[in-house]
Amino acid sequence: MVDVSSATRGDLRLTRITKSYGDFTAVDDLSLTIPEGSFFALLGPSGCGKTTTLRMIAGLEEPTVGSIHLGTTDITTKRPYQRPINTVFQNYALFPHLTIFENIAFGLRRRGIKSVDADVNKVLDLVELPHLAQRKPTQLSGGQQQRIALARAIVNRPALLLLDEPLGALDLKLRRQMQIELKWIQREVGLTFVHVTHDQEEAMTMADTIAVMNEGGIEQMGSPADLYDNPKTAFVANFLGQSNLIKGRIEGTDGDNLVVDLYGQKISMSKNRSHAVDSSIYAGIRPEKFRISLTGTPTRGNVLTGGHIEEVSYIGVSTQYQVAMPWGQELMVFEQNDDGVPPFDKGDQVVISWEPNFTFALRGDEDVEAGTEVAPDDLDEDE
């Protein structure tokens, strides 16, 4: 039995965790601190080890090497029922033989709490489903079951709430709505949420801090804006949104800026957005940061000339262009359709320009395809 109310609280610390299954290493020497009260996301493609990490925090798997601390307490070998941690399972795992009320009361009753009515009704109100208390889980829609799974976990006010792809089974519209609700509920109850997902948009919408995982380790950790604007690796640059990565060379410095040569054209970028180790780099620019103008019209900021429009796709809010550059690369450009100017046509001769501080630089020996070949929607439950 765990008395959650007085149980250890505090930051969750994973220290040099490794989990192997035979020859296969699912999680490789991972260290991580999740601050108390934060909404933390573990983001990565299927097979990156995020679900295994979550299961080790929940106590459903034991790490091969390493330790897990909650506050100052070592919980590495504690059984799941001995941890003040609750999980919202993928596909919810509600108890089909119990009513919604009893599903939610389950954790409270196991901890020996006699009067559960007030607590259960409070979380039912929180998830806005008080009228379903006496139903059975199979009589509920997917979205309703999702909320009950959440209610069943938060009613225990755990030190840590784990969410394992909680919105994976919902349709897009419902998922968007639940993303906002989950964020609101997290602020309302003030618990630490650890959210595992393969959906970068979901992670960015909800989390304060995202750890991008790849092949059993953490690729980069930071706020959503941080990761998006200043990715350290090609994997992060490609997995979170889309990136144009252009091969280049650092020519010199100019105050706080670097002067970079991209196929004979000079651009400038901020020093602190460079993760290069030598002069060989990939300059990265997000497609929506580019501006397109016809050759000969005035431009500002960094400029790349000699392009022509290869492909135009109109998608309502924006138009997506593929611009063929003289060195054979096609750059992706997203233009908002907010200026009343008709889209460019295929074959137009154009220049591309952007604000210098939107540029980031990756090491020149990176695999530019990393993080693109994994389809983020290809969700493998058994991971």
Partner: protein
């Protein structure tokens, strides 16, 4: 065109009945008619001055009371033995089915085949084999004697114990298979969720696994109890005159004493008793409440 559509609609209505027809005819001829015949026989009385086995219809319902009073001991024994065998089979089959469903991994299918493998040999042969197993020279008696668990003069063959053991063995697959089927359907994540919600292993079993496997428990106990209550082979082969069950009485009344009315009355009483017990049991277990 209209005709074709009409004949199509007609055949749509008729089709279910056509499919039911062979089964209905079979059951009518070989089940309903004999049952009616049995009901008729149960109220007959011997023809005054007639030969053995000659009866006439006199609608004597007192046959039922006479038959019951005369054989109440065997009646009670049938139900006690059947309940014992059912509980024993449940105790053996539940852990077995649980292990196959959750822990067997790639051996799952092999183990399932092993469960039904005994059906490849005759039911009678397997029952007779238990005479050997429980006999003086078998695998059971000598070690039990050595350790002084049973006395030198105690035997296991021709005892009530042997009858119950025989029934347990013979009906074990009927208990195991439905249990396995319902355990296997349980989403293991519900058990993980229970552990996550502060339930230890025992509580998880009591609150989640067992309730979710109740349909299997009910089906398994019924499939064991019903044939066990009417069984006579195990008592005939493994028992003694003092461990006779109702099935043995019915058998000897029909074929040895040629007392058809009593045998028929006993058959009906047994059927009614089983039906009542099973109905009460299902009500209590409340299977329709389950998923």
């Amino acid at each position: 065109m209209i005709l074709m559509r009409m004949s199509k609609a007609l055949s749509k209505v008729k089709l279910p009945y056509l499919l039911l027809l062979p089964g209905f005819l079979f059951l009518f001829t070989f089940f309903i008619l004999p049952i009616l015949n049995l009901a008729q026989t149960s109220t007959q009385t011997p023809i005054a001055g007639g030969d053995t086995g000659e009866y006439e219809q006199t609608l004597r319902f007192a046959n039922y009371i006479d038959a019951f009073i005369e054989n109440r001991e065997q009646f009670a024994r049938s139900f006690i033995f059947a309940i014992c065998a059912t509980l024993l089979a449940l105790a053996i089959a539940y852990p077995l089915a649980y292990a196959i469903a959750f822990k067997a991994g790639r051996f799952k299918n092999i183990l399932l085949v092993l469960i039904i493998a005994p059906f490849f040999t005759s039911f009678l042969l397997r029952t007779v084999a238990w005479k050997q197993i429980l006999g003086e020279e078998g695998f059971v008696v000598p070690p039990l004697r050595t350790f002084g668990i049973i006395g030198e003069s105690t035997t296991l063959t021709s005892t009530s114990f042997a009858v119950v053991i025989g029934m347990t063995y013979n009906f074990l697959p009927f208990m195991t298979l439905p249990l396995y089927a319902s355990l296997e359907r349980i989403d293991p994540r519900t058990m993980e969720a229970s552990g996550d919600l502060y339930a230890n292993g025992i509580t998880t079993f009591r609150r989640v696994t067992l309730p979710l496997s109740m349909p299997g428990v009910v089906a398994g106990t019924l499939l064991t109890f019903i044939p066990a209550a009417g069984d006579y082979v195990n008592a005939a082969i493994l028992g003694n005159p003092n461990s006779k069950m109702l099935g043995n009485v019915i058998e000897s009344r029909f074929f040895k004493i040629v007392d058809y009315p009593t045998a028929a009355a006993l058959s009906f009483t047994l059927m009614a008793a089983i039906l009542i017990l099973v109905t009460l049991y299902i009500r209590k277990a409340g299977t329709e409440e389950l998923v």
